[in-house]
Amino acid sequence: MGEVSLSSEQRVFMTGNETVAWAAIAAKADIMYGYPITPQNEIMHYWTRLMPKYGKKFLQTEDEISAGFTLAGGVISGAKAFTATAGPGNVLMQESASMAEMMRLPAVYIIQQRGGPSTATVIYSQQETTITTFGGNGEGHRIVFSTSTHQELFDYTIKAFNSAWAYRFPTFVLGDGYQAKMREPLTIYDPEQRGINLVKPEPILGIRPNGSKFTHLRNTYNTEEELYKVVMANQAEWEEMAKKVVEWDSRDCEQADVIILTHGVVSRAALGACQQLREQGHKVGYFRPITLRPFPGEQLKAAIKQAKKILIAESSYGQLVKLVENALYGSTVEIVPMLRPGLGITTEEIVDEYNKL
């Protein structure tokens, strides 16, 4: 592989962590705030390596609480900023994410899930689904993209900055240790050369470039009614945003008896299983929420109209099932869970599970 650059579209072969660093450069991010934790460390390493050439900044803080709040401060000042973490670090960052929900801050978080609870493994899981979608002491006013390939890690990291700055909700890219550490090909590019508009950041506190002033950002309210009004206004804006941001991938669901439903890297195994099973003549469909928050509930309802069963495979104990059940309340379709907390799921295992139905 020759020298990597964004000056033209380039096929590269790299780890997911390196991919994220390149995507942040491509999205014209200004600064990363971070605290090391496996398996996301190399995002920081690659970002700091690229930093001098692209004129970027990096601040290593004393812990993840600080990384989260310096990130909040960064975006308030008008910098396109992000952080990356995993596991227990994700737990600590929820405090800042919650403030970002309240103050409507466009903070971008990259999460490379590791095993849990607590320190657990440094390897892999999907056990940060619940905390990443609803981790704060609030209503989950955030956007969560769950990626499954390096190409998506690149595309959705760019999209995360755009969504955050367009709608002013904290935005998460939910990856995992496998995506972080594996190497596979992808095409990197300059989004503007592809005609993708990059939303420009602006100072949120103080004087804006157009001269208007905004000097009071609140996360404290004196009365119940006052807070109620603000949260309901945020809820309404979140719902309005949700319609535009929600994404999913649905394949062969119309005539399917069974739908295999997964998110993130497990979708790769699900896709392989669906292909194999369809070649054998089984009526199998594939559904994958790409945004976990907002969750594509209506789209899922439409996809399962003919289905008798949904097989849900996840590397956690029912965190995806919970999102699906909530979306499908009232439906009589049978949900068959395949729950492997902290464990990778292969194509063969999903096929085996299907054959047991």
Partner: protein, 251 residues
């Protein structure tokens, strides 16, 4: 090639399975194939079995890990046990039948940093004009900074003489090939190119890439080292070819 070739390499930490997996995947990618490489990794600083998963295909690759490997290459007794779940009826199984066992980690290193205990490694010497392979095998660390190795003897032998892998431990598979890669490296070439012999063997067993593709990948990967030490290049290519021919003659 219509299907995806699944390769699992497993060895003791330090045997170099991750680096050859990476070279293999990169060469496949350069050759226009789809390739995916994922290491397994844990919190251990030293010792233990390290597994590398590589998949090569003409079409999009699915899940990063898999159950049954097409080619399974465990390089130590412990690796044979750890990779049992990846052996299936269609698996080609390549193992090292040299008379070696896993290296031992002494209690004296508990609490020490990785860099304090890892160098100097018994196989760390590089062949050069100044130090012939023979010299570096006998006096393995002559080409290293001597202040690095002064003081306490450090613990970092990845292997030591031992009974070798017990053939009875090997699971039922399509084909088993034993190669004395460790012995060949030590006696004919240089301990450091052990993993390159294995890489040659993988290329011969998978038949998805020409040997030249790997030579080109090595030239890119080790460009600086090869430039400083042309003998090293020759040695690596010889090791690659040796590994390749071992498998070709066995199949």
């Amino acid at each position: 090639m219509s299907k995806t070739i699944k390769i699992a390499l497993a060895g003791e930490g330090g045997q170099g399975v991750q680096s050859i997996a990476e070279i293999l995947a990169e060469a496949a990618n350069e050759g226009g194939k789809q390739a995916l490489y994922i290491p397994n990794f844990g919190v251990e600083q030293r010792g233990g079995v390290s597994i590398a998963y590589v998949q090569i295909s003409d079409s999009q690759i699915g899940a990063p890990k898999f159950q049954e490997a097409d080619i399974l290459i465990p390089l130590s007794g412990r690796a044979v046990v750890r990779t049992k779940m990846h052996a299936g009826k269609d698996t080609i199984y390549i193992y090292d039948n040299s008379l070696i066992a896993e290296g031992e980690v002494g209690d004296s290193i508990v609490g020490m940093q990785y860099f304090d205990v890892t160098p100097p490694c018994p196989t760390a010497g590089e062949p050069s004009e100044k130090y012939s392979p023979e010299t570096t095998v006998d006096k393995p660390n002559e080409d290293l900074q001597q202040d690095l190795i002064a003081g306490e003897p450090k613990t970092c032998s990845f292997t030591r003489p031992g009974p070798g892998i017990d053939p009875a431990e090997i699971p039922q598979v399509k084909k088993v090939i034993a190669i004395p890669a460790n012995d060949i490296a030590k006696n004919e070439l240089h301990p450091r190119v052990f993993n390159v012999i294995i890489l040659g063997a993988v290329i011969a067993a998978t038949e998805v890439l020409p040997l030249e593709a790997i030579e080109a990948a090595l030239d890119v990967k080790l460009a600086d080292k090869f430039k400083n030490n042309p003998q090293l290049r020759e040695m690596n290519f010889k090791a690659l070819e040796r590994g390749y021919n071992l498998i070709k003659s066995a199949m």
